[in-house]
Amino acid sequence: MAGDMEEYLRPGVRTPFCPGCADRILVRLILRAIAELKIDIDRMLFVSGIGCAAWIPSPHFNADTLHTLHGRAIAFATGAKLFNPELITMVVSGDGDLAAIGGNHLIHAARRNTDLTVICVNNMVYGMTGGQVSPATPMGIFTSTTVEGNRERPFDLCKLVAAAGAEYVARYSVSQPDTLVSSIKRGLETPGFSFIEVISPCHIQFGRRNRLDTAAETLRFFAGKCLMKDEAEGLSPEELRDKIITGEFSNGRNQAD
């Protein structure tokens, strides 16, 4: 039934997520956006890659789900969407999945402006495989493969995808639930390629290696770094260091000409 969030959860499913995992929050927020739009979930297709984040739709969502290969979710989704444009197609996957192994598919789908809504669940680490560095890990962060702190610069995924031609690009954190839900709704309503980067912290693999002992502490740590775009305006590069700027970075108007 359209609009009923509880009906959107697959009955009898035990969540595979660690207690306190922010992805549990995101399960609810994505479904809330769909419920608020009163979308009949049977018209939707959820495609995910491999990783903890890829488990958000599969098996939690009571809809058609395609749990694919590591990195390939967008390519699988492209085939399904192009063949049946009636399918409202959403991709939900991790930062490693979409930006490392799947980075090429990400920029090309943005370039084509394929009508997909992509939720990039950014915990800034490879959660599932034990907390290795990802292309979204901030500099200085300890991971199981950056034992002296990460020395590589992370991608600014929103800039990357906007530059590649996406119609709608935004970044929010699970700690900004209402704006995030509005953004997911905007993404779903925007024809063309929509990309929403969601800061969704992993206390198990990220937090514990960086002196953040609990889920709450990890969540607070990231929430404290988030600034809205307009708050960031006028701040010096020094003041912006380590900050996560949230907001909309492309909303269709950029593409008008």
Binding site: D64, L66, H67, R72, A75, A77, G79, F83
Partner: protein
């Protein structure tokens, strides 16, 4: 039954096509309406032909960013209800391997045309090769079933592409048209008949999409039909729910995937006999090499030599009982191949009669004179 007679997409009659063009037309005739590809010699003409013809017949064509994406999108389209295909050659076929395993595990009907060129690696892009036989069977991790077909003519590039789609839909399995450059670029007459038989995947509302069904092949719904599908490459139960630590689920699934092909091999495997009945030396050949071999065998028969040939039209599943039977009758079996003995090794698995491989990997087809020379030494 899901068999149906349909009108051919092309008007009945004779056509002068290349093998690659014939494969594209065969796909269209079979009902293929999704194609994704990435350019690679010597297969690109298939994609270019499709790009033009899909505008006329109403299919979805896309050139993707690489072969991994091509095959991934083909699998996605198949679950959206399409008969879907891609074509490639060695380097692209290598990139597709993970996706082939995924299609086998998720029982997704897809067709891949591999126009084999001389390898390994980039090898000789415009030259012929036949080295992908084992890769077609074992290229992705784990044990999984595939069907692979070896066409020897332009006519068969057309007919066997139709057959490839029928088998894919019938058994919910990836089917590989394992052609060689020499057949893909061959240009000769082919005939299109007015009506062909096609098989469309079986559907049954509410049935388990990964259950055993009657014959090990479950019905397959599409996205958007309200079935709330769980499709995953992880081990899963009859309804697609991930079960990644249950030995029983894993054992049942892997056995069924294997058995649905092996138990139906009589229905899948095709071959042709030429003078094999009373032959002392039997050539086992496939693809373009079977053309040269038949020429050689017929020339020697005219000289009264007791030589014969078996042409394998299906490579995987392998024609094990046929080989057992041939091995019990022939004195010697000669296996000429454009690789280092990939099918000869299979033949050796099923018979202990005297097996003589002949391996040519110089980027050229094997000439009939070469085969005649070798056969004379064996008689």
């Amino acid at each position: 039954m899901a068999w149906k007679e349909v009108r051919s997409a092309l008007p009945a009659g004779n056509y002068y096509y290349s093998g690659n063009e014939a494969a594209a037309e065969g796909a269209i005739a079979a009902g293929c309406r999704y194609y994704a590809g990435y350019p690679i010699t010597p297969s690109s003409e298939i994609m270019e032909w499709i790009a033009v013809r899909f505008r006329e017949v109403g299919g979805v064509f896309i050139q993707m960013e690489d072969e991994i994406a091509s095959l991934s999108s083909v699998i996605g389209a198949s679950w959206a209800g399409a008969k879907a295909m891609t074509a490639t050659s060695g380097p692209g076929f290598s990139l597709m391997q993970e996706g082939i395993g995924y299609a086998a595990m998720t029982e997704t009907p897809i067709v891949i045309v591999d126009i084999q060129r001389a390898g390994p690696a980039t090898g000789q892009a415009t030259r012929v090769g036949g080295g992908d036989i084992m890769q077609a069977k074992w290229g992705s991790q784990g044990d999984y079933p595939v069907i692979a077909i070896s066409p020897w003519s332009v006519q068969e590039m057309y007919d066997q592409t139709i057959n490839a789609f029928n088998l894919a839909e019938r058994y919910r399995v990836p089917v590989i048209l394992l052609a060689e450059q020499a057949v893909g670029h061959l240009r000769e007459r082919m005939n299109v008949v007015e009506k062909i038989a096609i098989f469309n995947r079986r559907k049954e509302k509410g049935a388990a999409p990964f259950g055993a069904g009657d014959d090990g092949v479950p019905p397959m719904p599409a996205f958007g039909e309200g079935e709330k599908l769980l499709v995953t490459g992880s081990s899963h139960d009859d309804y697609g729910l991930r079960k990644v630590a249950d030995p029983l689920v894993q054992a049942r699934l892997t056995a069924r995937l294997h058995n649905k092909i092996v138990n139906n091999r009589e229905e899948i495997i095709q071959h042709e006999d030429y003078y094999a009945e009373d032959a002392d030396v039997i050539v086992i050949a496939y693809g373009f090499t079977a053309r040269s071999s038949l020429f050689a065998v017929e020339a020697m028969r005219r000289e009264g030599k007791r030589v014969g040939m078996i042409r394998l039209k299906t490579i995987w599943p392998f024609a094990d009982s046929l080989i057992r039977d041939v091995g019990s009758r022939a004195k010697k079996i000669f296996v000429p191949e454009m690789n280092r003995g990939q099918v000869a090794g299979e033949v050796m698995k099923y018979t202990c009669c005297d097996i003589i491989p002949y391996n040519q990997t110089d980027g050229e087809v094997i000439h009939p004179n070469t085969i005649m020379g070798e056969l004379r030494r064996l008689l």
